[in-house]
């Protein structure tokens, strides 16, 4: 009980003090996960749409694969990206290991299947309602994917948010490819992990509370935006 009380105090003090180091860590977390999710959405939404609309051999297998990859273990993704980016790996010449870019790549790999699998379901359901009308109007499949993404934007936003939740909360992948280097690749989750290992449980819990608050406020902001535009645009 005292620990948790201590932790809240520590969190409170952390938020009030809001020193540069903390701000840096929060900003890097947001930047890495934000860009990773943006890229994952750019790849995952059209990919989900394509799997939903096109009929091709292996479509069922791809759907199962995407659904399965939603549960990719972050450490395994981290390890694979590590192997690819390490000096001896195929992309070793790019010197990306232990940089925020490597962390973005790893999280993007982690999140893209989530966005793709969830949006495939959303877009496929929409297509059953829209197919006859859109085909009657003479739509091409590629154009139809774009139309369905726009029309399913509220449900798809939830898919993207699910991806963001996964990215901002994971520690395994960013730890391996980022290395938790102070002022370079340290993010909220790796900092929490470090403070826990050092025995600074109250600071670790304080950081944890800030992370949860951060996640909650982003979700609330998106909810409000969604709600307002949904009422305006129907």
């Amino acid at each position: 009980m005292a620990d948790i009380y201590e932790a809240f105090l520590a969190a409170f003090r952390l938020i009030l003090s809001f020193d540069r180091d903390l701000a840096e860590i929060i900003l890097l977390s947001l930047k890495v996960s934000g860009i990773a999710v943006l890229l994952a959405a750019l790849i995952g939404l059209p990919l989900g749409g394509a799997v939903a609309l096109f009929r091709f051999p292996g479509r069922g297998a791809l759907t199962i694969l995407l659904n399965g990859l939603m549960g990719l273990p972050p450490v395994v993704v981290g390890l694979l990206v590590y192997l690819i980016l390490s000096r001896a790996g195929p992309l070793g010449v790019l010197n990306l290991l232990f940089t925020p870019t490597a962390m973005i790549i790893a999280q993007c790999v982690l999140v893209t299947p989530i966005v793709a699998a969830l949006s495939r379901q959303v877009i496929e359901d929409l297509w059953t309602d829209y197919e006859e009308q859109l085909r009657s109007l003479g739509v091409t499949p590629v154009r139809a994917i774009g139309t369905l993404i726009v029309d399913g934007r509220y449900s798809l936003l939830t898919a993207v948010l699910a991806g963001f939740g996964r990215a901002i909360a994971e520690v395994g992948a960013v730890m391996i490819v980022g290395g938790n280097i102070d002022h370079v690749t340290r993010v909220m989750t790796t900092a929490i992990s470090l403070e826990t290992m050092k025995g600074n449980l109250s600071i670790a819990l304080g950081l944890g509370i800030i992370l949860i608050l951060l996640s909650l406020s982003i979700n609330s902001a998106v909810y409000v935006i969604k709600d307002v535009s949904q009422r305006r645009l129907g």
């Binding site: 309602d129 006859e132 009657s136 109007l137 154009r143 645009l233």
Partner: protein
């Protein structure tokens, strides 16, 4: 008005259905249907629920392919048949955007761009009496307004042939009247109407030409006056009298 298609030039009509059948699983929905639908104003496909009217319309429009037989357009531009047709569905599918944007979207799919698209969008909204609702999200319009918007969207495309699948089946009399007036206006512009209904009153009000379907088969194809004055077949008689006609074969 520039939009009136020249009725003497048929880009795609006549439409021929050559021994068309359509199966879903083991059951035959359309059974060996052959007919020719030529230019001329309004062809109404009449029949009870489950007679295969909607399926026939979808076969004509190319939304589904026949299991057997062929659907052929015989006009000069029949290779581009799709561009000359449009369809209004029983339940209109409107995109989650403004009324005006729904019309603009359909035009953009036909390659209409820029100022021309804006002009034709505004024209279509005005034609349907929806100008005041142009910026309103299409999804919050009433059922009648949504169907008028769907009609305006097809009107903007200037099709030679317009298919309508029970367009007023779920509307009240006032909205139905508005839809029927809009259909009449589309006819005066020279567009061929092919429409399904199970509403006998509506068929009497609108039809020039009747295709009577029963149980997936085309029972009669006659001028409306002839058909309503005295149909040839007992199934059609029963339908006009409001009696239920159940095939002996399907009775048990």
């Amino acid at each position: 008005m520039t939009r009136i298609p020249d009725p003497t030039i048929n880009a795609v009509l006549p439409l021929e259905l050559d021994n068309v059948s359509y199966d879903v699983g083991a059951s035959r929905i359309i059974d060996g249907l052959s007919t020719v639908i030529g230019p001329g104003s309004r062809t109404i496909i009449l029949g009870a629920n489950g007679a295969g009217k909607s399926v026939m319309l979808r076969l004509c429009h190319g939304l589904i392919r026949p299991t057997a037989g062929a659907v052929r357009w015989h006009g000069a531009d029949s290779g581009q048949a799709q561009r000359h047709q449009a369809m209004v569905f029983q339940r209109p599918v409107l995109l989650r955007r403004s009324a005006a944007a729904n019309i603009a979207y359909a035009l953009s799919l036909r390659g209409v761009r820029g100022a021309e698209r804006r002009r034709r969008t505004a024209e279509a909204l005005e034609w349907a009496g929806l100008t005041a609702l142009a910026a309103r999200p299409a999804r919050v319009l009433s059922g009648g307004e949504q169907q008028r918007l769907a009609l305006a969207r097809t009107w903007a495309l200037r099709p030679e042939v317009l298919f309508l699948d029970e367009p007023s089946a779920s509307l009240d009399p006032a909205a139905t009247h508005a839809i029927e007036s809009a259909i009449a206006a589309i006819v005066t512009d020279g567009t061929k109407i092919i429409m399904t209904t199970h509403d006998l009153g509506q068929a009497r009000r609108l039809a020039d030409d009747i295709l009577f379907l029963h149980d997936g088969q085309l029972i009669e194809h006659a001028a409306a006056d002839t058909f309503f004055a005295g149909p040839q077949r007992p199934e059609a008689h029963a339908f006009l009298d409001g009696r239920l006609w159940i095939n002996p074969a399907t009775e048990n």
